[in-house]
Every structure is written in C-alpha cells, then in structure tokens.
Amino acid sequence: MGRYLLRKLANNLILVLLAASLSYFVAGLSLHPQSNYEGRNPPLAKSTIAKTLDDVNMNPDTPIVTRFITWADGVAHGDLGKTIDGSPVNDEVGRRIGVSTRLLLLATLVGSVGGVALGALGAIKQYKLFDRVTTLASFFILAMPTFVLALFLKLASIQFLGAGTIHFTGETDPEFAGHWDFAALGNRAEHMLLPGLTLVLIQVGLYSRYQRSTMLDVLGSDFLRTARAKGLRRRTALVKHGLRTAILPVVPLLVYNIVLLFVGATFTEKAFGWHGMGELLVNSITRNDVNATAAVSLFTAVLVLIAGILSDLMYAALDPRVRVR
C-alpha cells in the first residue's frame, strides 16, 4: 500500500507540474495583458506600457520561455508573481482561499451528508413517493447549470419575499465588513443563505444519485440478510452493514468534488459576489492577468493532487480489503 501510494504520488506530482506549466504557456500566449493599458485617452507611451508590463513579468515582447522561467523560479521559491495591478498574487490567493472556505465549509458538509442520507433513503424506499420526488428533483437540479440555479434563487427570493428581504450580495453588508461580533455573524448567516443553498442543492442532487444506486446494489446482498438473520434490527443492519459498504464507491467522488469545489464554486461566487478563488478564475481571465490565471491553474492542479491522496487514504481507512493488499 505504501509503495503504491508513493508511486502514484510521484506520477501525479509530475502531472501537476506539467499541467501547471502548460497552463502558464497557454495563458501567456492567449491573454493580452497590454489591452489593459492600450486605447486609453490620453494614450500611454509605448515605453510606459512596456515598463509596467515588465514589472509584472507580462510583457508580450519578452519571449514566453524567458517569462516562464522567471515565473517558475518565483513559484519554486513560493512566490506566485504579481497581479496586473502589481500587488502580490500570494496575498490575493491567501485572502480568497479564506473567503472560499467560509462559503464552502458548511455548504459541503450539509451537502454531502444530506446527499448520502437522501440517496440511501431513496434506495430503501425505492419507487415509493419519497424516492420518486427526490429522483425527479435531482434530475431537474442536475439539468440546471449552476448559474441558472443561483439566478433562479435570487429571482425567486425577490419575487416571492420582496426585494431586500434577504441580503445576498457579498459576504456581509458593508457596515459589518471585517466584524465578527454577534450582529455581524447574523448578517453573515443571512448572506450565506442563498449561495449556501445553491451549493447544497447541487451537491445533494449529485451525491444522492450515486448513493442511491450503490445502496440499491447493496440492498439485495447476502451479507445484509445475514446481518438481519443474526438478529440485528433493520435500522442497525442497514446503517452499519449496508450504508458502510454502499458509501465506499461514493467516497472518491465526494472527496474529489469537495476538494475541487474550492475552485469550482465559480458560478456561485460570481452570482453572489463572493470574492473567492472561483471568482478569481473568471476575473483573472477577463483582466488578462497571466500570473493570476496561472496561479489558479496551479492551485487547481495541487487540489487534484491532494484530492487523489485524500481519496486513497479515505478509501483505505474505510475498506479493509484495500489495506490488506
């Protein structure tokens, strides 16, 4: 197990490095940082633009390889370079990870537990009303792009509750920004409501589908009948023997999705004005900010690496058969 994990880790590390480098090249060649300065009135001198771009290592006249080496050298020393404004990317990313975490932590927890619970319950009550309703609902949620769901929740809250009933833009109202006292927490909770609900609904929709089908596979199994036959109550047998087995195939999916949500909550963050990592993904591209874009892809690649290790470890922890091998 240990050697297998190490080999996989080494392989994935190479892939991550390669993916991050490739992304840098693609971003460096396709984005036009100079467009931020051109076409201004009064026009800026060519040399001024070149100087500004040189400062942030984004001058398109510098060969891409040279730019890449400068960037890679910085990254190797823990410096992700500068944004197009000249501020360090590190600070930006650090702040945004905090925002994303505040948004995602509770939502993923509720979403994954809820999804597993609903899916398992749906399997136990297969073809009953509960199952039919949750199945149909999850079909609709999964058919909805995230931004449609987010906009729908916003629109519905305005139409049915009246504008301003629920404040949903940003992390807090401006007057509470940066505060953590009791009133501010309440305000934060209010702001969290709709984006949180968006994320929870999507995750519940997705996970419950998987959990339902793995649970169905398990329900007819012999070991479950044995568990009942030796005298366990139905509930105990279902949870301890059934659910524990049925959750195994879902674990990697859970881990990957939860970890990758840190950059994947783009639509939710954008729709509700949370300045997290997902928002940075879109903003960095629209601002032609090569370094920030590269930072986001590096971050994504690292997350994939972490998710891979985490899901293997979780799997080993939950499945004795893997540990023996």
């Binding site: 392989n11 992304s23 999964l142 058919a143 909805m144 874009t293 893997v322 091998r325």
Partner: protein, 332 residues
C-alpha cells in the same frame, strides 16, 4: 456473464428483432418518451419558430422596450427591444447544435483512443493513457475560457473543438477497459488470424460491440456540452455578440431579470428542458440497450452520468481506479 452468452446466438440470428426489442423497451419507459418528445419539440421550435415569428433576433423594436410576453412579441422583449422569442430560438439552435456536435465528436474520439490504446497495448497504450491523465489534471474550464477568445475570429466551430477536446477522457478510459476484455474474445481473434488489420478490427468488430455504451455516452455528453457551453457563454468566453446562445441571453439580462422576470425564465427554462430531456432519454436508452448491466460496467457508466455536473472540472473521475478493484494499481 451467463446471460450474455445465451443471448449471443439470438442476437446474430435475428438482428432486426434486437433493434425492435430496444425500441419497444425504450417506448415502455414513459419518462424517456417524454424526454424524446420534449427534445423533438425543442428542435422544431428552434428551427421552425423563427420562420413563423415576425421578428428577427437582431431587430430592435423601438416601440417596445422590456415589453411583457403576449401580443406581437410572444415572449416579450429585452431592454433593447429585441424579440425574446427570436433571441431564445437563435440561442436554442446554437446550444442544440453545439451540444450534438460535441456529444458525437467526443464519443468518437473516446472510442477511437480507448480502443486503439487497449488493442495495441504497450507504448501506444502508455502514451495515450498518459495524455488522458494529463488532460484530466488540466483545468479544462479555465483553459477553454482562456483560449476561446483567441480563436474568436475562427467562429463557433473552434469552440466545439475546444469543448470536445476536454470531454472525451473518461469515456476513453471506459472504452479502453472494455476493449481489454473484448480483444481476447473469439470473434476478435478470428478476425485477427484471418488477416484483418488492426484499425478495421477496431472499427468493425470492437466498437460495434460496445455500441450501447457509446450511444448512451453520446446522449450524456450532449447534456454536459449544453451545460458547459452555456456556462462559458454566460461569462463571455463562448459565443460572442452579435451571435447569441442561451448562456449569453441569460447573462445579458441578469440585471433586468428581477424587474422583468420573463427575460430569465424563458431562456433558462429552455436550457433546463434540454438538460432534463437529455437525461431522461439517456436513462431510457440505458434501460433499453442493456437491461442487465451490472458490476464494473454499470459502475463506470454511473460515474459518467455525474459528469454532467461535476462542476468546472472533469477530474472527479480519476476515482475510476478505486471503484473497480482490478483497476486499483493503474496509475491515475
């Protein structure tokens, strides 16, 4: 496995009846029929609607800004006085065509790459699977978003290519593992020893044997592509003005939607209808094409279904490994 072997001779003896059987099984599934009907209606609307409608999607009606649905403008107008029905139908055309093209192309690529990798094995396998791994690690949403403006002048077909390039990998893996078992079967060996060349065996014998998987996958990919396209277009990384897609229509009207909700509900409704219809059809096809799918095969497919919503990345499916015990040692 025993059911598969007993079914085999029947299948070859009466080919027609197998198709008929599939159709009958599909028709028995009410949700699948609903899905198919919705899809057909959407297609008809998208292509016939504009012919019947009085307004072109580019025409600005200066007498009707933000007009509510009804009357001359069936679905109302937007801030610029453009007819929402005309706009939405135009967007629907784009979304459907892009979805279909990406679905077909990505499944073809997946079939070809997966089958070639497994059939030839060795270095071909290693290199192709390594490319698959790499593409899975690359942040696809981000890269498509970065690259598509650069190709803007080349038109929306480039966009189709970009979307397809990042959506075939998981199916490719599934096809590969299925080919690995198929290539030792008698009918493949027989063809091989009769001197049939590798590519012909792949396209004439191996891929047709997994037609059900490929058909289902195409349908699922169509849904995924429509959602992916709308997301990219929503942020302005996809279809560019003056052309429209459902994503750009929703995006353009985001600020006005609270006051004029039809600007959101009609295009968003079409988008959701496509998604729901596609997943109903996919489910019906799966039940009709292989009703006793079980074990690794079924699991692989289940994992793929989730693709439609795996968020901005396609990565969740590296987990293929741990789910099937035989694959645990394959590097991913």
């Amino acid at each position: 496995m025993s059911t598969a072997t007993t079914e085999q001779p029947k299948k070859t003896a009466k080919r027609q009846s197998r198709t008929k059987l599939t159709i009958r099984r599909f028709a028995r599934n009410r949700l699948a029929l609903v899905g198919l009907a919705v899809m057909v209606i959407l297609f008809l609307m998208a292509y016939i609607g504009p012919l019947v409608n009085k307004y072109d999607y580019l025409y600005h009606d200066y007498m009707a800004f933000n007009a509510p649905p009804g009357g001359d403008h069936w679905w109302g107008t937007n801030q610029g006085g453009q007819d929402l029905f005309a706009l939405t139908m135009r967007g629907l055309q784009k979304s459907l065509v892009i979805g279909l093209l990406v679905g077909v192309i990505s499944t073809l690529v997946a079939g070809a790459v997966g089958a070639f990798a497994a059939y030839y094995g060795g270095w071909a396998d290693r290199i192709l699977m390594w490319i698959v791994d790499l593409l899975l690690v690359l942040p696809s949403f981000l890269l498509v978003a970065v690259m598509s403006p650069a190709f803007q002048k080349a038109g929306w077909l480039i966009f189709v290519v970009l979307l397809s390039a990042f959506s075939w990998m998981i199916t490719g893996r599934v096809v590969r593992s299925m080919t690995l078992t198929l290539k030792d079967r008698e009918f493949v060996k027989a063809a091989k020893y009769m001197g049939v060349s590798g590519p012909v065996i792949i396209f004439r014998h191996i891929l047709p044997s997994m037609a059900s998987l490929l058909i289902i996958d195409t349908v699922i990919q169509v849904g995924a592509a429509v959602i992916g396209e709308s997301g990219l277009s929503y942020f302005g990384f996809g279809i560019q003005a003056p052309d429209v897609s459902l994503g750009t229509i929703i995006s353009d009207n985001t600020t006005n939607a609270p006051a004029y909700p039809w600007l959101f509900y009609f295009p968003a409704g079409c988008l959701v209808l496509i998604g729901v219809a596609v997943s109903f059809i996919g489910d019906g096809l799966r039940d009709a094409l292989d009703p006793n799918a079980s074990g690794a095969k079924a699991k692989a497919k289940k994992i793929k279904t989730g693709e439609t919503k795996a968020g901005a990345t396609n990565l969740s499916n590296q987990l293929q490994g741990p789910t099937t015990s035989t694959d645990v040692l394959s590097p991913s």
